[in-house]
Amino acid sequence: MRRAPLRRRLALRDLLGEALAGVAARPSRLALTTLGTVVGIAALVATMGLGQTASGQISGRFDATSAVRVVVEAGEREGTDGGVKITELPWDAADRVSRLAGVAAAGTFAQVAVEGAQVRGVPVSDPGGAVEHDVPVAAGSPGLFDAVNAVLSDGRFFDAGHDGRGDPVVVLGRYAAERLGVNRVDSQPSIFIGDRPFTVIGIIDSASHRSELLDAVVLPMGTADSLYGLDAPGALEIRTELGAAQLIGSQAALAVAPNDPELLNVDVPPAPGSLRDEVSTDVNVLFLALGGLALLVGGLGIANITLLSVMERISEIGLRRAVGATRRHIANQFVVESIVIGFLGGLIGAAAGVLATVGVSMARGWTPLLDPGLAAVAPFLGALIGLVAGTYPAWRASTIEPIAALRGG
């Protein structure tokens, strides 16, 4: 009894052969039928491929200078006893973090309270009144300039010697220099803070961060400490090696304040991973939806044309029934035909999607990234669509009575 069903089932090779011959009979129609599936699968593969590619790149938003900046600031925290614990950055905070692997430059920064003293360019008391300016005064360690990528238009930065001795020298920010009427330093101009003279040794043209430096008169930390009694640096600027920001961010607090690392606020750039997610999701949702829609249309196209094909091939169906095909044989053939069409569409679509991914990557100068599994699965997704789309036409074909089918031409 077990042989009976075996006997009625067509060998897979024969079934495939008949289906392929049926599909290949009208090549131009085949091309049209697969079009929807091709577009849908291509859209899906390209969307996912481009999503993967884009998230593999350092995106435009992820600019290289902010990716290497870590800022440590003194913070405060409520203690267990209800009191507020405050910490200060140590004077040598920059030296402490410089020992960490991955730190390219580090320097401290502070705002200096000058007790109401005005900053003036000339020591003359103008009888007419006012050449006084409200120029802010800041202090920095020698490493600060390198850490914020400061560029001089003239002169030089102060160094560890100036800092250690508390020399009365200043570096002017570009806008501060304009307001104070200083445009060159080779004549060793002086400015006055209150009544104290300071020699201007350099003028900063630009800096990538801490743009307040451009408005300020910058003293060495040691000078600010000895003359104005600065308590502690306000912030520590660190420029890391490319890619080391996350690591330094996790180590800096401990290096600066081993006793109370959690009291420091460490500001690090967002991890690349979180950026990736943003890039992928907003692009992908739209294109996946479009791809899905194209697939739906593609499936309907296959169903429609297979149904048309069934109606055209009524006489063939009749003949096959006459030579011994059962309803199941007929249904199987049409289902397999539409699976083949879907598979072909998926295959072409996957190829087109991979090409699109590579093409866009080339145009944008990206490294194309694509999960090979995605390209491998796509034809089978096409085949699945073919299976679903072919079911109804195949059922219709199987209900055709051979008598009706063989009548006439």
Binding site: D14, A21, A322, G324, T326
Partner: protein, 261 residues
């Protein structure tokens, strides 16, 4: 015409054949009763189509075809010829009556079982040929063996042999579209023969052919008949029917035997 062939009347055969019973196996019977085995036995077959009024396409058909017989069924259009063909070819079921094909009662079989039996026992030749346009002549002939458990290699070999038998050896790889009508019909005959049927059913086989091609096709039938094939040709054309060694006439759904001239 082959007047030398022994003529067996249906009445005589009824007496000789065993009474119909469900368990009878045609192969056993074939071995016991070689040469005079009954291929087709229809007893009191009617086919009515529902409607108002109900249409009696054929009524009370009693027909026996024995192995090796060349029978023609003649009748004008609308006489029930096509219905009889469909009944004989297992394409339709009788409303009333019994139909034994090779001794197997086919009236009650399932659709799938009837399809299988049809593929094994019946070879069809249609007026409109019904060849697959996009397949080669060889593939068209192989088609009749596709739904049977015959290995691919064997199918090809038998298709080639059969094409040789109908004189189309030189057309094996051709497309049917390039063949003449007569050649197409011979391809169709080869297709029917390749499956080695018990009965070859031809429905107006020369209806679409000119007289020259029709004669060629009928000559093939004569040759096959000479080789022992059981043939039933349904036609309205007296020229075609006179080739057979036995003629029955159908009119208004009723069958009448005609003595062969």
């Amino acid at each position: 015409m082959t007047p030398s062939e022994p003529f067996l009347s249906s009445v005589l055969q009824d007496e000789h054949s065993e009474p119909p019973s469900a368990g009878r196996n045609h192969e056993e019977q074939g071995e016991q009763d070689q040469g005079r085995r009954t291929v087709v036995e229809m007893i009191g077959v009617c086919r009515t189509f529902p409607g108002t009024p109900e249409v009696h396409a054929v009524r009370d058909i009693n027909l026996t075809i024995s192995e090796g017989e060349y029978l023609s069924i003649v009748g004008p259009s609308g006489s029930g010829k096509s219905t009889l063909l469909h009944l004989l070819g297992l394409l339709d079921r009788p409303s009333v009556g019994t139909y034994l094909l090779d001794g197997v009662d086919v009236s009650e079989l399932s659709d799938a079982k009837r399809s299988e039996l049809r593929g094994e026992r019946i070879g069809f030749v249609f007026q409109a040929f019904h060849l697959l346009q996009h397949r080669s002549v060889l593939e068209n002939v192989e088609l009749s063996m596709l739904y049977r458990r015959i290995p691919r290699r064997e199918r090809t070999k038998r298709a080639r042999d059969t094409l040789d038998r109908v004189g189309l050896k030189h057309r094996v790889e051709f497309s049917p579209q390039t063949l003449s009508g007569g050649e197409r019909q011979r391809v169709a005959i080869a297709r029917a023969l390749a499956a080695e049927p018990s009965l070859l059913l031809a429905d107006e086989p020369t209806g679409n052919l000119d007289s020259g091609n029709a004669d060629a096709v009928l000559d093939v039938f004569d040759k096959l008949h000479g080789e022992g094939l059981t043939l039933a040709v349904i036609t309205h054309d007296d020229d075609v029917s006179t080739r057979a060694d036995r003629r029955v006439r159908i009119a208004d759904g009723t069958l009448t035997d005609e003595v062969a001239s």
